[in-house]
């Protein structure tokens, strides 16, 4: 099992689920508000399933999800950004789904059957996320604000993937791979300054009740 790749995937899904949940109640359209929040919840569900797999039957997925220090997370800077402008939030969704599809496809071929099976299960749900993202991309692709957002976020999206998957991402999105110089600070393994405040909020309840909160 490629634990680092799986942990990166799970952390991406958890953190993006948190970030996209910040739109709940304030998305530009009521119907989209429901859809966007639902997709965010799905992503957190995927994170949970992967943490469960990583810790095994006796393990504690919550501990893995919430008891690490910010610097120990394997999420990519793309998902950490607090994007409170719709063009950026939807551009990130589109870029994220494109990159996510490639790494999940790779995991579906994993020699570990549990990993391959979970990847296939996640992919069936992601198909609707991709449909949603493509639909927005088709509608906004010629809007200057959306194009600017894609340009700004593109190096982050590339930095989400291992190097061998990057050329295919460029083909799928129709964008040119940035130079190594432009990728600095955008790749997995580094964190944006926005992760720590998110982590503070995300782990607040857990840290306030170290013995475990009962619901």
């Amino acid at each position: 099992m490629n634990e680092q790749a799986l942990l990166g995937l799970a952390d991406d899904e958890l953190v993006l689920g948190w970030r996209d949940s910040e739109w709940t109640g304030i998305a530009p359209l009521l119907e989209e508000d429901v859809a966007f929040s639902s997709i965010a919840q799905n992503e957190i569900g995927h994170a949970r399933a992967i943490y469960d797999l990583l810790v095994g039957e006796e393990g504690d997925a919550d501990a893995l999800a919430f008891d690490r220090r910010p610097e120990e997370y394997r999420c990519s800077p793309l998902v950490e950004l607090r994007l409170l402008e719709w063009s950026h939030a939807i551009a990130r969704r589109w870029l994220y789904e494109a990159a996510d599809e490639l790494r999940i496809a790779a995991l579906k071929d994993d020699p570990d059957k549990a990993v391959a099976g979970l990847a296939a299960k996640i992919d069936r749900e992601e198909a609707y996320h991709r449909m949603h993202a493509e639909m927005w991309h088709d509608r906004l692709r010629n809007e200057p604000r959306f194009q600017t957002a894609v340009e700004e976020l593109w190096p982050y999206a590339v930095g989400m993937l291992p190097e061998d998957l990057r050329p295919e991402l460029a083909v799928r999105t129709g964008l040119d791979l940035p130079s190594n110089n432009l990728l600095q600070g955008h790749e997995r393994g580094t964190h944006s300054p926005e992760l720590t405040p998110l982590w503070e909020e995300m782990t607040m309840v857990r840290r306030s009740a170290p013995a475990g909160a009962q619901w």
């Binding site: 359209l29 009521l30 119907e31 429901v34 859809a35 609707y128 449909m131 949603h132 639909m135 509608r139």
Partner: protein, 96 residues
């Protein structure tokens, strides 16, 4: 976006008829599908959806019944007594 309303019909289980579930406001069929999936399908409450632009629906709601032809309506006459009589003739008890 000034957008059309899509009426949503959902089928709860296979073999059952579609029933009106509500509506979504969406600019085109793709958005309507994506949003209807989330609002009428994500809890497993539907096995299928129909999305119909409200403009495509023909509205029928006026009924002229000026001459009180109540024998044409189900509440026009009672069959209770006649049913009882028929049961007695057939020698069977009532339902239940």
């Amino acid at each position: 976006m000034s957008e059309p309303v899509w009426e949503v019909f959902r089928k709860e289980r296979r073999g059952q008829p579609f029933e009106h579930a509500g509506s979504v406001v969406a600019p085109d069929a793709d958005f309507a599908e994506a949003w209807a999936r989330e609002q009428y399908g994500r809890r497993g409450e539907s096995v299928a959806l129909w999305l119909v632009p409200r403009d495509s629906i023909r509205d029928v709601e006026d009924w002229a019944d000026e001459f009180d032809l109540k024998y044409r309506r189900v509440d026009g006459y009672s069959i209770k007594a006649r049913l009882k009589e028929a049961r007695e003739r057939a020698g069977t008890a009532g339902p239940g």
